[in-house]
């Protein structure tokens, strides 16, 4: 049981980190939503305050 959990989580973590390390495009792709979220937030704020973006 313990081995199963440790191996499964370790393998997934290793795979994810490997992808992140070896492929810069992945880093760009995975980080993009944090910017789009803020942009969207600004649009709503601007709409509420009556100004244009």
């Amino acid at each position: 049981m313990i081995n199963l959990i440790v191996i499964a989580i370790s393998a997934i973590m290793f795979a994810v980190l490997l992808v992140w390390w070896r492929w810069p495009a992945f880093r760009v792709w995975i980080e993009a939503p944090k910017y789009s979220m803020l942009r969207q937030e600004r649009r709503f704020d601007d709409q509420q305050t009556g100004s244009s973006s």
């Binding site: 959990i5 440790v6 499964a8 997934i12 993009a32 939503p33 789009s36 969207q40």
Partner: protein
């Protein structure tokens, strides 16, 4: 990260413009409705909690009616927080944030109102009413009855349509982490809820407990945590106006949380009868969870770097920051307390209650409050009072800190007492002051919540606030995120990345299923096999009355103070008896193992105490145990302990059935080590050499079984020492004995009216030290007198000295003459010797079948009045009949003289 942003901004400007159509509408009315529902239910739930806490100090406080009894209030406190407060708060946040993250409105306003009505008027309100009326489910975080659970599932299905569908219509590859948490929380809770609430009703005992353990943790891990995390991930960047530190880390944390949370469940049952492989798996997963939380919190705190000024000024963000810190603390605490060396000590104590409050208030509630305060400032036409909000924060922070510190210390004190051989009630006495502080700490928390509510209905309106710039000051460190767009179509169309989230989602579902497989299904099969091999073929089932009593036991919340699982730990075994075996629970639908001990474990109540004691205790526990904090249950009686209703009879029948199967099966007389199995016992033997190796011959809590090794305790011979002993004995007597024997030892304590035989009038007889020592050591079988051998020897000696002192000064020399004694001796031999023995030693031929045993007159010398009264009226509740009709007054007088002459060593009196 800034470089990445700049690179992206250049290539994506055009595609951004295309995507930016009209903004989706936001259902502000639904937000307002859920916010107010959350605050109303929050205040009510906290009032329930304060009532529950108050009853620890004043158990009779509003305790005369079943609707306000401790157990039912406790159920409604936690369920109110879970569904009423947090559920509504999360829903309010969803209506605010889903359109922003998905760029689409929620599915339907009508559906939203239907969801609101179901959540509040088919779940929370009827749930509370049904629990208060006695219809509930005695399972942690699943207390609302099954009919309410059905509406909860319906509500989660509606949530999928209302909130998840808009996300699915959008491109998942653009989805911000808060959206992921919302999707994951809704879907996984929808799957886990029915399993955690329904399966323990269908799968009994230890096997059902494995499922219960899963849900206990899933309730926090799949409902509370994801939605609180969604709020934190949203409020932090929206307030600081800077992107989070790493979206990659946030997604790693997201999947790690969903992978590891469900695997934690069984850590609530460490050292239990659940197979050790499952227990250890849960402990390892708990350690992983701690690491995952460190990663998540690190990401949050790095996102706040350089924003200390904003955290200080912006109260909603400060709420979230406090929640983030609490999350780190409570998660690390959780990982540590799952470890066996810690768990064996603090489990079942108030430490765990402190942990729960740190999680539900410090983490979840603070973040939910931050989320509500954040969105409230952005709803047109609402008011917002920053000053009151600030006060609310500090009151809540102060109250929570005091509460958690107090409960943590109380837990350590309880654990320390439980490790000793002190009576259980000593642990209750030891933490009495801590419980009072806990109640008081609830007051600033309640005030904080009320102020929070007030701050949303007072102060300037939103439009004014924005105009004056009081509530939303832009940070000077704002990143030029408006230049950063969603990722390019090129990246999105690169192939496998488009499927990355699908793969991850599949993995999440896989881990969710894995948790049920490894923590519930596989251990369940193992338990089933073991039960088939070990369970006695003649194991009795519960009678109809006992079944009904079990339901009452569950509805009154008895399992929330009394466990029915003796763990494989020396301290447990020494106190309660042999560890609970899985087969003992094979008819328990649902399991009533419990996760907390305020009173002792009840697994071995069979033959433990007489019915009159039990009825008196149920009617009002303080009649027989002065310092008990157990609630009274007068609605189970018709006005007095002697008149139990059918429900009272049923619940006692159930309590007295606990441990019967084990006792009657002779299981403990068989060779324990040979067939019992298993990894649990192996583990216990490894880490607890005295747990199973030491036969639970006479656990502390058990009476019965005359022990020849009872020491004879003689009071001090030195007058000064004796005086001190008597004084101390008086205090001990007042604390432990006076409720039955009365303050002066005359057998007229509060409980005496309902006990049969009545407690002894200790002033109406002289007792030898040997007799007093024996009674204190062994109790009196057939009466309510329990053994007190768990008290230190010096305390027992002080009690002997005190009881000695109750006897009136020696009367004038007896005027007995030898003729009278001879008549008495003749009458005694003819009428009394069959029970009391030829020499009056209480060992006649019939004595072995009598309980209480006939009096040994060599060890007890009744006063003339008492002896006369006994011959006149007998002793109700014993085999001693009245002799008024069989013997003349002269004959009875002669008998009185004779039995009084026997006192003292039998050799000297044998010739009389």
């Amino acid at each position: 990260m800034t470089t990445v942003a700049q690179n992206l901004s250049a290539q994506n400007k055009r595609s951004n413009t295309q995507r930016e159509g009209a903004l989706p509408s936001i259902e502000y009315d639904l937000i307002r409705a859920h916010v107010f529902a959350s605050l109303v239910t929050l205040v009510i739930s906290v009032l329930f909690g304060i009532l529950v806490a108050t009853k620890f100090t004043f158990p009779e406080f509003v305790g005369g009616h079943g609707w306000l009894t401790w157990g039912r209030l406790r159920y409604n406190h936690t369920q109110g927080i879970f569904f009423g407060w947090l559920g509504n708060a999360f829903l309010a946040f969803f209506y605010y944030v889903v359109p922003r993250l998905a760029s689409r409105p929620v599915l339907s306003r009508r559906l939203g109102w239907l969801l609101f009505v179901i959540w509040n008027f088919a779940v929370v309100l009827p749930g509370w009413v049904l629990v208060a009326a006695g219809f509930s489910q005695p399972l942690e975080w699943a207390e609302f009855p099954l009919v309410v659970d059905a509406f909860v599932v319906v509500a989660f299905i509606l949530m999928v349509f209302e909130f998840v569908l808009p996300f699915l219509k959008a491109r998942l590859s653009d989805l911000y982490v808060s959206g992921w948490y919302i999707i994951g929380g809704i879907i996984f809770t929808m799957l886990a809820y029915p399993v955690g609430n329904l399966v323990p009703e269908l799968v009994p005992g230890a096997r059902g407990a494995a499922f219960s353990g899963l849900w206990i943790h899933d309730a926090v891990g799949l409902f509370v945590t994801p939605f609180a995390a969604a709020i934190a991930y949203y409020v932090i960047p929206a307030t600081t106006r800077r992107p989070i530190f790493s979206h990659f880390l946030s997604m790693v944390g997201f999947w790690l949380l969903f992978f590891t949370y469900p695997l934690n469940g069984t850590h609530h049952y460490v050292y239990s009868a659940i197979p050790m492989a499952a227990q250890k798996g849960a402990i390892v997963a708990s350690a992983y969870l701690g690491m995952a939380v460190i990663l998540v919190v690190t990401n949050w705190l790095l996102s706040l770097r350089g924003s200390s000024g904003t955290v200080s000024k912006d109260v909603p963000l400060r709420f979230v920051w406090f929640g983030v810190i609490s999350y780190l603390l409570v998660s690390l605490q959780g990982s540590v307390q799952a470890l066996m060396p810690v768990n064996r000590f603090i489990h079942f104590t108030d430490w765990v209650i402190g942990h729960s409050h740190l999680a539900m208030i410090g983490f979840a509630s603070f973040i939910a409050l931050g989320g509500i305060a954040h969105l409230w400032q952005r709803i047109p036409g609402t008011r917002y009072n920053e000053r009151l909000m600030n006060w609310s924060f500090w009151l809540l922070a102060a109250g929570l800190t005091l509460m958690v510190a107090d409960l943590t210390i109380a837990g350590l004190v309880e654990a320390q007492v439980w490790q000793s051989s002190a009576p259980w009630i000593d642990s209750v006495r030891a933490v009495g002051s801590y419980w009072l502080v806990r109640t008081l700490s609830g007051l600033p928390i309640l005030a904080g919540f009320v102020l929070f509510w007030t701050s949303l209905v007072t102060g300037p309106r939103l439009s004014e606030a924005i105009a004056s710039g009081t509530s939303r000051e832009a940070s000077e460190n704002v990143v030029a995120f408006e230049n950063v767009s969603p990722v390019s179509d090129k990246l999105n169309s690169t192939g496998w990345l488009s499927y990355a989230h699908v793969v991850a989602f599949g993995a999440g579902v896989g881990f969710f299923a894995l948790s049920f497989l490894v923590l519930a299904i596989l251990p369940g099969r193992e338990l089933e096999d073991e039960i088939k091999q070990v369970a006695p073929v003649t194991m009795p089932t519960l009678t109809a009355s006992e079944q009904r009593g079990r339901v009452i036991y569950g509805r009154e919340g008895c399992a929330y103070c009394h466990t029915q699982q003796i763990r494989s730990l020396a301290a447990d075994v020494r106190r309660f008896g042999a560890p609970t075996e899985p087969w003992e629970t094979k008819y328990d639908y649902p399991q009533l193992w419990g996760t907390r001990r305020i009173g002792p474990d009840l697994s071995r109540e069979f033959n433990l105490r007489p019915r009159d004691w039990q009825f008196t205790h149920l009617y009002n526990p303080r009649l027989v145990v002065r310092d008990s904090v157990m609630p009274p249950y007068p609605w189970l009686f018709d006005g007095s302990p002697n008149q139990p209703t059918q429900e009272g009879l049923d619940v006692l029948a159930y309590i007295q059935s606990l441990g019967r199967a084990r006792e009657l099966s002779g299981f403990d007389r068989q060779t324990l080590a040979s067939t019992v199995r298993s990894d649990t016992s192996e583990m216990a033997m490894t880490s607890e050499p005295s747990a199973r190796a030491t036969p639970p011959a006479i656990p502390i809590a058990m009476m019965g079984g005359y022990s020849l090794s009872a020491p004879v305790l003689h009071p001090a011979s030195d007058p000064d020492d004796l005086e001190e002993e008597v004084s101390r004995g008086g205090l001990l007597f007042a604390g432990n004995c006076a409720s039955c024997h009365g303050p002066a030892g005359r057998g007229d304590g509060k409980a005496s009216a309902s006990l049969l035989p009545r407690p002894a009038n200790l002033a109406a007889a002289r007792f030898s030290d040997e007799r007093l020592s024996s009674v204190l050591w062994n109790g009196v079988a057939g009466s309510a007198m329990p053994p007190w051998r768990q008290l230190p020897t010096e305390d027992l000696r002080a009690l002997v000295a005190y009881v000695d002192s109750l006897h009136l000064p020696v009367a004038a020399p007896s005027t007995q003459d030898s003729t009278n004694l001879n008549v008495g001796k003749f009458l005694f031999a003819a009428n009394c010797a069959s029970c009391h023995g030829d020499a009056g030693e209480g060992n006649g031929p019939a004595a072995g079948a009598l309980a209480p045993s006939p009096t040994n007159f060599h060890l007890k010398k009744p006063t003339q009045e008492r002896a006369w009264d006994v011959l006149e009226n007998g002793v109700p509740g014993t085999a001693m009949p009245p002799w008024r009709s069989q013997l003349t007054a002269d004959e009875r007088r002669a008998l009185v003289e004779f039995v009084r002459s026997l006192y003292g060593p039998s050799q000297e009196n044998s010739g009389q």
